[in-house]
């Protein structure tokens, strides 16, 4: 059964249009999105999250038509390429941010936040200020914060691009494991084919706002289209 359904999605911006005819994603699955710069990958995530107006189309997540809801009510967590942590808070407070909004008690919030910090292997950093973190540590805090709220859909906009190779690999495995365990869904935008191979069940290739290809990583890999090959090998 498909838990995330995007149908006839259209976004129009000044000199750019994004069109997705149909896209389906099952529970516990990750969709990888690739494309050259300016192909509409980030716009797609922002449109699903509700930060960009849809000209046309619907987005359903676990049976709820979220495209009619404001972003804060969609239960879709978004992680950017930069961590965008709240600098006035500690690491623990950052991870607690979303949990507190769910009206959980302080002790429950902290308990859950510590659990996610431990999964990200940064439990020792909980009292640190944000400016004391390295780039990799900050990105792991950002992922922990997004995962802690346990929303059914997680949008990731090149979250691994600033990380070194071993850490990337660890986080890819962790992401896959968490999505499968929680039976949620994730959409991962990336420029790196290794991210797709390491995480994604399906791949969408975008080119100038249009779908160029959609399928499993193996199917996309074997596609003879030279433009697809160029994007995957870039």
């Amino acid at each position: 059964m498909s838990e995330v359904v995007i149908s006839k999605l259209q976004v129009e911006r000044k000199s750019f249009a994004l069109e997705i005819s149909s896209l389906k994603l099952g529970a516990g699955k990750i969709l990888g999105v690739m494309g050259k710069s300016g192909s509409g990958k980030t716009t797609l995530l922002h449109a699903i999250a509700g930060f960009v107006s849809l000209k046309y189309g619907d987005v359903d997540v676990f049976g709820i038509r979220v495209s009619e809801l404001p972003p804060e009510k969609r239960k879709i967590a978004l992680v950017f390429q930069k961590p965008w942590l709240f600098e006035h808070q500690t690491v623990l407070e950052n991870v607690c941010f979303g949990l507190k909004l769910q009206s959980l008690s302080r002790s429950k919030c902290e308990e859950q936040a510590r659990f996610w910090l431990k999964r990200m292997e940064i439990e020792s950093l909980e009292k640190r200020k944000i400016w004391e973190l390295s780039g990799g540590q900050a990105q792991r805090v950002s992922l922990a914060r997004a995962m802690a709220v346990k929303f059914p859909l997680l949008l990731l906009d090149e979250p691994f691009s600033a990380l070194d190779s071993p850490l990337r690999k660890d986080l890819r495995n962790l992401l896959k494991q968490i999505v499968q365990e929680s039976k949620s869904c994730a959409i991962l935008v990336t420029h790196d084919w290794r991210d797709i191979e390491g995480t994604s069940d399906q791949v969408l290739i975008l080119d100038q706002g249009k779908e160029l290809a959609f399928g499993s990583p193996e199917e996309i890999r074997k596609n003879p289209n030279s433009r697809i090959k160029a994007i995957c090998e870039d």
């Binding site: 930060f51 009510k73 709240f86 950002s142």
Partner: protein, 524 residues
């Protein structure tokens, strides 16, 4: 389908309304009405009067000389601090900024004390002549204004791209040529902007000319305006002078806007400066020259005020003094509260608005009052609302309105800088985690903006405590603030009393601006 953007557009009118109301009712309508009155009563004979011609020539002549001197000095000090890396440069930078924020009336008193006929230094330096006239005007105007070019040019020097200078050096240019052909053109926008502001402030300065000018030969338009309103009660003449000054202000405002460049994102400059002195002796020469220069220009007048602080204790039991302090702080608090309450929502909406044209136009509008002297705006308000000088309560309203209009251009800088840190992505992150508009405001925006807001309050308090023109114009007798107390004491030649009040005001302002400076430094 509505997203948050559409909802914001509907809401934004509520945010624009307070500032539009204050600006139209308090500034645009009164100033337009001032122009209309000026044109109605236009008298060519008045403008062709030889004395008035002299006043106009002298006003802009002295402003030109003072501003050029201030820009030159500001450039030298900025260069020595940013590039020469003089010992104690950071302290001097902060000290200059802090002292130039002092009210002009305190500066006039300080210069009189340090270089006036009664001082040893004054007798040595000026011999038979006195500080009154050109020396006094230049000392006062440079004291108050050289930190504007110092700050603007210094920031431009710090944030410039130094790679091209290194490249020029590597292909055989000497450092002097690099400075003239690469560094100076790089900061020319800041030089021009700072000159415009300095020229404007020198041409509209009142108390420096009033107390250090020395006779009718040194009358400026601002002094004529003051005399017409407060001494001769000649509103017709005042309106004509104010209209002329307002026209020049608008002209300078247009040139200033044309000279502006979009703000750059600050980033640490990792390329070393090529101007750092190679020998210890050149380094020391720069350090000593700068300390002597700042010491003579700023340090000596300040010390002269503080050394008369002993008289302070004889006035401490004066209930009038304490009531003046309470009134000063009350006005400052009201101005700060109103300015922030109307400006913050506007900047919040503009920060989230994607329409850059509207954004720019509104930001230009809020800067406009800075290009008018406080006397001109106060006169415009008092003519447009004649009842404002009728009762004490109405006078308070007039004072707070006029000061709010002046404070808004000053506090928009720290608030806008604060909003640069509050990126759209950070807000989206909070929103995607489920935070509603109010939750985002309370838990993300406000903690990020806490420091800029506090800084804005301090700037407001500092400015308002030292403001005299608006109080002079709106309040004939009743409202007595600390700054007005200094003016009245000086006008009656009661310099001990003036010194005593000045010491109190000076200490309060040094604390206020010192904390503000510390906050700015720690932000950087």
């Amino acid at each position: 389908m509505d997203t948050d953007f559409e909802q914001r557009k509907e809401m934004s009118l509520i945010f624009y309304l307070p500032i539009c109301l204050i600006f139209s009712m308090g500034f645009l309508f009164p100033v337009v009405s001032l122009f209309v009155s000026g044109f109605k009563g236009f008298n060519l004979a008045f403008f062709s009067d030889p004395f008035f011609e002299h006043v106009v020539t002298f006003t802009y002549g002295q402003a030109l000389v003072s501003s050029l001197l201030s820009v030159f000095l500001g450039l030298v000090v900025a260069f020595l601090i940013q590039e020469w890396k003089v010992v104690g440069g950071r302290f001097l930078w902060r000290f200059c900024l802090l002292c130039s924020s002092l009210p002009s009336i305190i500066v006039a008193l300080g210069i009189l004390g340090a270089w006036g006929p009664g001082s040893i230094l004054g007798r040595i330096v000026f011999d038979q002549r006195t500080v009154f006239g050109w020396p006094g005007l230049l000392l006062g105007h440079v004291f108050l204004n050289f930190s504007i070019p110092m700050r603007l040019i210094g920031n431009a020097l710090r944030e410039r791209n130094r790679t091209s200078e290194l490249t020029a050096l590597s292909i055989g240019m000497n450092r002097w040529s690099v400075f003239w052909k690469i560094t100076l053109p790089e900061v020319r926008t800041s030089v021009l902007s700072s000159w415009i502001l300095t020229f404007l402030f020198c041409s509209t300065s009142l108390f420096i000319v009033l107390f250090l000018g020395g006779g009718p030969r040194f009358t400026t338009l601002e002094v004529s305006l003051y005399e017409a309103v407060k001494l001769n009660f000649d509103n017709g003449k005042a309106v004509q002078i104010a209209s002329l000054q307002a026209l020049v202000g608008i002209g300078l405002y247009v040139v200033y806007l044309k000279a502006q460049r979009p703000p750059r994102i600050k980033s640490p400059n990792l390329v070393p400066s090529i101007f750092v002195p190679r020998s210890f002796s050149s380094s020391m020469l720069g350090t000593v020259s700068l300390w002597v220069l700042i010491g003579a220009l700023i340090g000596v007048p300040l010390v002269s005020i503080l050394q008369d602080g002993g008289f302070l204790f004889s006035f401490l039991d004066s209930s009038e003094l304490w009531s003046a302090a309470v009134i000063s702080l009350g006005i400052a608090g009201a101005v700060g509260l109103i300015a922030i309450v109307i400006l913050y929502p506007l900047l919040h909406v503009l920060h989230h608005s994607q329409r850059s044209g509207r954004k720019q136009a509104l930001l230009w509008l809020v800067v406009l009052p800075q290009f008018f002297s406080s006397l001109v705006i106060s006169l415009a308000i008092s003519i447009f609302y004649p009842g404002v000088r009728g009762t004490e309560m109405m006078a308070y309203l007039g004072i707070v309105l006029a000061q709010t209009l002046f404070v808004i251009p000053l506090i928009q800088f720290p608030l806008r800088e604060g909003f640069y840190h509050y990126s759209l992505e950070r807000e989206w992150t909070a929103q995607s985690l489920g935070a509603s508009r109010w939750q985002r405001f309370l838990h993300v925006e406000l903690p990020i903006m806490r420091r800029p807001l506090f800084l804005a309050v301090l700037i407001t308090v500092g400015y308002s405590l030292g403001e005299v023109s608006t109080i002079l114009l709106f309040s004939p007798m009743g409202i007595r603030t600390l700054a007005l107390g200094i003016f009245q004491s000086m006008s009656r030649y009661r310099f001990q009393e003036a010194h005593a009040i000045t010491v109190i005001l000076l200490l309060v302002m040094l604390i206020v601006f010192g904390v503000a400076g510390f906050l700015e430094d720690s932000d950087e």
